[in-house]
Symmetry: none
Subunit: 208 residues, 4 copies
């Protein structure tokens, strides 16, 4: 009977409860004070853990914050499946607007901010957060392309950034409010285009 395919590592095994306590403490502090108000010492104190234990596993507080955020938000991806790719994506965009107007938006913004001075963190954010969501969106859009709902010569990567890029832009720059109307407008333009005569009923909205 094989006990395990992997030989057990020698020494005292890493305490899983400690690991989780750290991530949970980090998450709570992150939601309370934002990233800039996050300190390793506070995480340690709040988790009832030694600072050294944190530094044993993460190189800096950014890495802790990132893992804490990812652990807490990873599973939340959800697209509706109505049969219309455009419908599905627009619905998800409007939902996202609500999320990004809340605490999550603040944390996502700060993680991207953090990533500007720490490439490792940015890479982790992209692979752990952004890519899975982009992939899901591209899946929907590709389905729409298969069905003929969306043109076949479209590049899904560019399309998905065309749709979500503006949302990130407003979330980060705050130069204009991040509303569902905005998301709807962006989707309308990207799907229906904007060229045409000055006056005109224009193409119907893609709105849900």
């Amino acid at each position: 009977v094989t006990k395990s395919l992997l030989k057990a590592a020698p020494g005292r095994p890493r305490s899983e409860s400690t690991h989780e306590a750290i991530l949970q403490a980090a998450n709570e502090l992150l939601e309370e004070n934002g990233f800039s108000g996050l300190t390793v010492e506070a995480i340690a104190a709040s988790a009832g853990v030694a600072k050294t234990t944190i530094y044993r596993w993460w190189p800096n507080k950014g890495a802790v914050a990132m893992e804490a955020f990812l652990a807490a938000t990873s599973p939340k991806i959800a697209f509706p499946e109505t049969g219309s790719a455009i419908n599905d994506v627009v619905t998800q965009m409007r939902t996202l607007i609500g999320v990004y107007n809340g605490v999550t938006g603040k944390i996502v913004s700060e993680l991207i901010a953090l990533g500007q001075s720490d490439p490792e963190t940015l890479r982790n954010f992209v692979t752990g957060y952004l890519e899975p969501r982009r992939t899901a969106a591209k899946r929907i859009l590709k389905d729409g392309m298969e069905r003929g709902e969306i043109r076949g010569d479209v590049d899904p990567d560019i399309l998905v950034d065309s749709l979500y890029g503006p949302i990130f832009h407003r979330m980060l720059s705050k130069h204009a409010p991040l509303t569902e109307e905005f998301a709807q407008g962006v989707a309308d333009y990207v799907f229906r285009g904007t060229v045409g005569p000055k006056e005109g009923g224009g193409p119907a909205s893609t709105g849900v």
Copy 2:
């Protein structure tokens, strides 16, 4: 002969050379080390200036960095004027790609990042950098709407974010390369739309 309509303030006047030395030092350090490696003490040392003098005129290092950046880059706005709004905007977007792939892109990114933990800085970035550029772009687009090149019911604010938001997104998240093809693609989709049959010549590119 009155030298000035305003009564001169008493006391020693502010040294303009000191002011400039500070901004220049800040700019150099910003380009060298990025914002996170920027410290007030380093600016002071590099400018041959007392820390006190910096704090007399700016509330924190973010404000110095912002002013330094704006002083160095403000005048550079330039849109071509070919008679085609779409042409002009796309050309400018492709130019912007080049700029944002260089040092300026790094600094802009870090200023946005900085703004995530300092609302004042973000506001200054928006009013000092972003708004002038958005206004210029909207001017071009509105001209196109007047001419009938672009639909009349389009919201210029949303349109401009649809075009530039994706660029900022890739600049900040670095999940995919920031190429002229990308800018071209985004512009194509936003102007011509993406709905349509799977196969199809599709609408002509908006390309220059």
Copy 3:
């Protein structure tokens, strides 16, 4: 009228009260817990001072402890002057025994101990504490040599170490009690010698 021969240093002058508060706090903690129980953080807290301020002026806690000790004990040198060098020295030795059996002995021991891993500290101890006392003792002994009380060919440096070395030895090694009888005995042997027949009244004690 000259204000000062030295040009005033630029910048905010060092706070003398802070300086003293640090030394006093260090001294109190030293007497309470001994040197090994002394921490820079405790000194800072107890003096109401920032840790950085301590490190601005002293390289490590040993240096603070040394200066604190020297500031508190420097002026205490006192030899009686009875006309007899031997008498004076022996009296002082007996007094010293009392001092070294108390807190001072503990601190002196720990400073010497500290000096074993920090040459700078040891040097400061010697020049700040030991040398002045050795010089004073040598002064007395040389007077005795002038008067003919002590032989003229004696080396005062060796003599003074012959008298005080044993005291330091017992203070540090604690292999036998540090009593006035011990001091008396050492002085007897060093001054009167120990050679001679097994039985014998022996030379009179040098005792006071």
Copy 4:
């Protein structure tokens, strides 16, 4: 065949090679870096041994260092036996000077230093190192007293400290060089005394 008259303890027996490896590693590190640069983790690493194993057998690093030192130096006691106690002692003192000017002196100093903050260590040093040597010296001196070479009313404990205390003092305080001349001088004074007229041939040296 009985392996032993004593019943063997249950479980895995203590590894003697491990024991020795620890002491040897400690000794090497002690000679290299001195005591302050000695860490349990370094001993463990250098001996290829687990930290736990060290703590199972010694309460702290001082105890390891002490045992390592004693194991390495215990057997080295040697007094000449020329028939003259004074001769023998002086010869040994001069030899000791050489030893204490080398690595051994450094280690002895640091062990005494260590003992200032750890009574247990100091006690071990005294019983394991100092006492045997003091006893040997007292044996020689008592022989001299028996023979009438040294006065009979002398306290051997005080005498031995009068002779060796000055050496320890200079070794620890480093206020003056530790030379054979110094040892000779101390012995001269302690055996022959120092009182007498200013000018005078004085008593003959006790020198060898």
